[in-house]
Symmetry: C2
Subunit: 239 residues, 2 copies
DNA sequence: TATCTACATTTTACATGTAGAATTGCAAGC
DNA sequence: GCTTGCAATTCTACATGTAAAATGTAGATA
């Protein structure tokens, strides 16, 4: 009933951004996640501006945005470099994802849209194709799509925001890992269990399946990055 | 290899940044969290630059940084405004904090530094003073310090990063709530239970106590914001 | 040869310029 | 009364300028 405010209604779809900085962020993010820009590599604003044929302003803003996103880090007065993630950082990301994405999966199962299960099935079908065809890029894209779909389905903008950030950083570290034989197949199998629980609207089961998947991924990452160490990651007091 | 040559290690304390943009971010963040800049208010880059006596470049970068932090939002081509958090958003933040900060509290109890309990006690003592003296600013500062100390003690940089972001946004929404009689006292009592569990190195108990505290806070926020049914804040004649 | 120093180059951080879009103010029209 | 039209103004987004700092490199010195 308080609708009489004359503030902007938003009936129209808000036409595209078409901002140079947005395209620059997208291009740089793609370059980082695809490996064109390697971890540790310097992000020189003048050089990038020259290479992309634009001025330095949008490039600088894009680099700062990626820094805020966690895909790059700045060292005081010495410029910005692509984030390097070691075992310690990767482990920390997984540790953070456990409770957060587990909870998101519970919420998605309990209150997600009706067609969520089908959409996830479609993503997994694509992912299976990618594994069969050995298409690495497609595998990573579908993997990101799977987790992103769940993060969106929990209908909590804050959780979505946090998970997008975490998953972006994960993707940086994951490239060097997933190439091991069996890893991708295992991941798909674990994904299927998550989807099954979501379809059954079993919140607890979905959360458990997601946490199991993340713990397994973490174990695979650890064993790849640090093959000698048979550390048993914190499955002890977890619950 | 990764052999460090005879280059300088880290003998000196890495002299301060002294960057204008850093001071600008700090000043704007302070202005937003203290209420000098109200939710919904426009952040005009030229106006701020003029008022602060600096050029537009660092102001623009600062505003973008605050946007990435979630304290401001940009609407396409119409500039940046201080974030407005309604009941829905505040509720989402609490929902996200539950599992994440609960887990952080568990980790802090299980592997936090030995003097964590004492440090938290000191913070709570200050907070009790603030409540007794009716010092609102001090109450908010100590509250932030309490949660931040736990986030830091869990020894996971990712969790810390996410919680700092969430708690910053919380602080934006919390100002209008905590003034109700009894709220602050209840908060301190719940804090004490968390500290007791941490001192006992009881991870599960600490997690439960923190989640109970967050749930209670959420309930207090809802009961404060809902009766009036004012989903959007600041409808008054702000200027 | 190894180390230091001086110079050239690059880069960051901030300042300023500017086209085009959006907002605002204000008056005419219904 | 409430729109509508249009000029004036403001602001965003991008481009460019520049001092100080950092880096790289060659030459000097031991």
């Amino acid at each position: 009933m308080t609708n009489r405010a004359k503030t902007t209604d938003d009936p129209l779809p808000t036409i595209g951004p078409a901002r140079v900085v947005d395209e620059t962020v997208a291009a740089l993010r793609q370059a980082i996640l695809s490996g064109d820009l390697r971890p540790g590599q310097k992000l020189s604003v003048p050089a990038l501006a020259l290479r992309m044929g634009i001025s330095r302003s949008p490039v600088r803003e894009a680099v700062l945005a990626l820094t805020a996103e966690g895909l790059a880090v700045e060292s005081r007065r010495r410029g910005v470099v692509v984030t390097e993630l070691g075992l310690k950082e990767t482990d920390a990301i997984h540790e953070a994802r456990g409770p957060l994405e587990g909870f998101a999966t519970r919420l998605a199962a309990e209150r997600g849209p009706a067609d969520l299960g089908e959409r996830l099935d479609a993503i997994l079908a694509e992912q299976a194709e990618a594994v069969a065809a050995g298409d690495e890029d497609k595998y990573f894209r579908t993997n990101a799509a799977f987790h992103s779909a769940i993060a969106a389905a929990c209908d909590n903008a804050e959780i979505y925001r946090l998970l997008v950030s975490l998953e972006g950083r994960m993707a940086l570290a994951l490239r060097q890992v997933a190439a091991r034989p069996g890893h991708r197949e295992s991941g798909i199998e674990e994904h299927r269990k998550v989807v099954a629980a979501i379809k059954a609207r079993d919140g607890s089961g979905a959360e458990a399946a997601m946490r199991a998947h993340l713990a397994a991924t973490r174990q695979r990452v650890v064993s790849t990055l640090h093959p000698d160490d048979r550390m048993t990651v914190g499955s002890g007091a977890a619950e």
